[in-house]
């Protein structure tokens, strides 16, 4: 099946794919700084360079860390917890 081949093709070149992704991310931030009109931003922080990139990354890390901390504080239990 061609779809499997395509995924295989990309997986075999994982390093290149990852590198391309980094380039795309950098381009995205640069484009945001140079070309995007921030006239309609609602707050001052949104005018910072790459504010939403930072928001995405920090938000993601915070969610993972806070949730895992919460889970390990007693919320996560073994699977047979409710069995009598």
């Amino acid at each position: 099946m061609s779809l499997v081949k395509l995924i295989e093709f990309l997986r075999n070149r994982l390093k290149t794919v990852v590198r391309l992704c980094w380039v795309a991310l950098a381009l995205l931030v640069v484009a945001d700084i140079l070309f995007v009109d921030k006239e309609h931003a609602h707050t001052a922080v949104e005018h910072w360079w790459g504010f939403w990139s930072l928001f995405g990354f920090v938000g993601c890390a915070a969610l993972i860390i806070v949730s895992k901390w919460y889970g390990h504080a007693g919320i996560m239990q073994r699977e047979d917890y409710y069995d009598e």
Partner: protein, 597 residues
């Protein structure tokens, strides 16, 4: 009304009653025909008020057709087609019948013009959908089903109490926008009934409990109807109710936090329903025309992409028998198309540009910013980080890639699902992309089309903002991948209170209550029995000679009737429910038909 007004729900109910009688060959076409007819009927509805019936002096309205009910009626009946296509190969009639009654309940509630009709269909939803859980047949499904039913009955009671109180004060059963500025206790009771179905914490634990346990296609139906019918009811009755804004924002984040911990892919998706419905609830609470548009648009888009996601994970469950991340991994070789479809669902829910979530979710966030509720805007943005993190990344990664190697038998069972499941997923995918690319399709259906027409999601700023958030979330995901590896655990949620509370009650009933019962029984035997025997002997004489003659004939006929009834009353709660349910269905049909003559 003199002319007959065909209620779309009536088509489904009649279809559900006929389905089990049909021979095998015609069943499959019939399973598609009925939902298509319902969809066609919804398309031909004209605005107005139909299906009036006088009941005990009250005016019940079965068919209120306006822009708000039409957008929900449209998507519900469309989803019913997709759900049936997906489960077309399922041989178990009970599931199809339950699903149709369930959809009928949802559509009936949407077109209901008064509280009594709303309540009737509201309960129909709960009592029919529970069979989609039981149909899975596992021991856990039985318990999950009963818990689901109990919680919904409690919510229904709150709704009923509120309705009756409200009707008593206002003097009418009419279901319309309540006076949200001057909320009374009755208003709050009704609202509790609604937000329980919308799964607002702490009244939400039934949702992951039930949706993770239903059959693979049962969940596809369930994920669409209950919560979104509640969103409709909130839009109709509580637009502008301030308290819904913080509740919605809490929901949006709550679902995300639990999704980090979850090991079962369908329970993860269920937690993301809570999160997504949070956006809608917040939109309803904001109450501006744009926000209500946003809530409706997001409900519309959500039904499709969440259905698609449940179809994808349902396909994995159906083919491999597993839904836990710790038991799955590397399936891209076996189920590549299911992967692509699920990914499309994931990109849609994460609001990637060109996918459906992008054009609907942003409307609510924008409405929050426009109302100068900055915290609403930012926190909802944070929730969308979590959405992409789980549904867009965690689900596809840990099922189709990841380091985990599933057991040999799981690996051998894995394969692409039957054609109809693929077709349903493909259709849903196309719709998700179509909505995202061609905005007028959805925007013209919204309750305030003029406001929607002025909203443009595809501005450079919005696209750049969204792409940055999402792609840098992906960076965070891959950098913190080790922390995210699923663990074979369950997470305690608010259902702990009634699960453990129920157990405590049982212990209480077994020990102290039984001791008291024995004690009272002993007292009764000593103090009551001797005088009783004496009276009984006298009564016996009277009875033997005078009463018996008259009663014997009557008793014989009662016994005969009793024996017949015993056939249906074997003490099996589920059987009794089916029986009660059948009677209720017959009554509804009678009502609707009477209403239209």
């Amino acid at each position: 009304m003199n002319s007959f007004w065909l209620h779309p729900a009536l088509i489904l109910i009649l279809g559900a009653l006929v389905l089990p009688l049909l021979p095998g060959r015609v069943k499959k076409p019939f399973l598609l025909l009925v939902p298509v007819l319902v969809f066609a009927r919804v398309l031909t509805l004209t605005p107005g008020s139909f299906g009036h019936v006088s009941f005990l002096g009250w005016d019940l309205v079965f068919g209120r057709v306006d822009r708000l009910s039409q957008v929900f009626g449209y998507i519900m009946s469309l989803m019913c087609i997709l759900g049936n296509l997906y489960g077309l190969h399922v041989k178990d009639d009970r599931q199809h019948v339950a699903a149709w009654f369930y959809v009928a309940g949802s559509i009936g509630a949407i077109y209901a013009g008064d509280y009594l009709t709303l309540f009737l269909f509201w309960e129909l939803m709960a009592f029919s959908s529970v069979f989609l859980i039981w149909a899975r047949g596992r021991e856990e499904s039985l318990g999950a089903g009963f818990r689901y039913l109990l919680v919904h009955v409690a919510g229904g009671l709150s709704l009923l109490a509120g309705m009756v109180w409200h009707c008593n004060t206002v003097g009418s059963w009419e279901f319309s926008l309540t006076d949200v500025q001057h909320a009374t206790p009755a208003t709050y009771l009704i609202m509790i009934g609604f937000i329980l179905n919308a799964a607002v914490p702490p009244l939400h634990a039934w949702l992951p409990d039930a949706y993770g346990e239903a059959t693979f296609n049962g969940s596809v139906f369930m994920c669409a109807f209950t919560t979104k019918t509640a969103v409709y009811a909130l839009c109709r009755g509580f637009a502008g109710m301030e308290i819904l804004v913080p509740l919605g924002v809490i929901m949006a984040l709550y679902g995300v936090v639990y999704a980090v911990l979850e090991n079962d892919c369908r329970r993860l998706l269920a937690y993301h329903i809570i999160s997504q419905v949070g956006y809608m609830v917040a939109g309803v609470g904001l109450g501006t025309q744009m926000a209500v548009n946003g809530a409706c648009a997001h409900a519309f888009a959500h039904i499709l992409y969440k259905g698609l996601l449940f179809m994808g994970c349902g396909a994995v469950l159906h083919m491999t028998g597993e839904s836990k991340f710790t038991e799955l991994g590397g399936l891209w070789r076996k189920m590549p198309w299911t992967f692509v479809f699920t990914l499309i669902g994931g990109l849609s829910i994460s609001a990637f540009p060109l996918f459906s979530g992008f054009v609907s979710k942003s409307m609510i966030v924008a409405a929050g910013f426009e109302e100068h509720k900055l915290w609403v805007g930012f926190l909802l943005m944070l929730a969308s980080v979590g959405t992409f993190l789980h549904t867009g990344l965690k689900v596809p990664y840990f099922i189709w890639f990841g380091k985990n190697q599933p057991k040999r038998e799981v690996w051998e069972r894995a394969a692409e699902p039957p054609w109809n499941m693929n077709a349903a997923m493909a259709l849903a995918s196309v719709l998700c992309i179509f909505i995202g690319c061609y905005t007028p399709y959805l925007y013209k259906m919204l309750p305030y089309p003029e406001v929607a027409a002025e909203y443009h999601p595809y501005t450079a700023y919005h696209v750049s903002e969204t792409l940055q958030i999402l792609l840098f979330t992906a960076v965070g995901f891959f950098l913190l991948l080790k922390k995210l590896v699923p663990e074979p655990v369950i997470s305690l949620d608010c259902d702990w209170f009634y699960r453990m509370g129920g157990r405590a009650f049982l212990t209480f009933a077994r020990k102290p209550v039984q001791a008291v019962d024995t004690f009272v029984g002993e007292l009764y035997r000593l103090g009551g029995l001797i005088p009783l025997m004496l009276t009984a002997r006298l009564a016996g004489l009277f009875d033997n000679y005078i009463i018996d003659g008259a009663v014997d004939g009557f008793a014989r006929s009662v016994r005969r009737l009793g024996q017949r009834l015993r056939g249906v009353q074997r003490g099996q709660v589920q059987e009794n429910l089916v029986f009660a349910f059948g009677v209720a269905a017959a009554l509804i049909v009678a009502f609707i038909i009477l209403a239209n003559w």
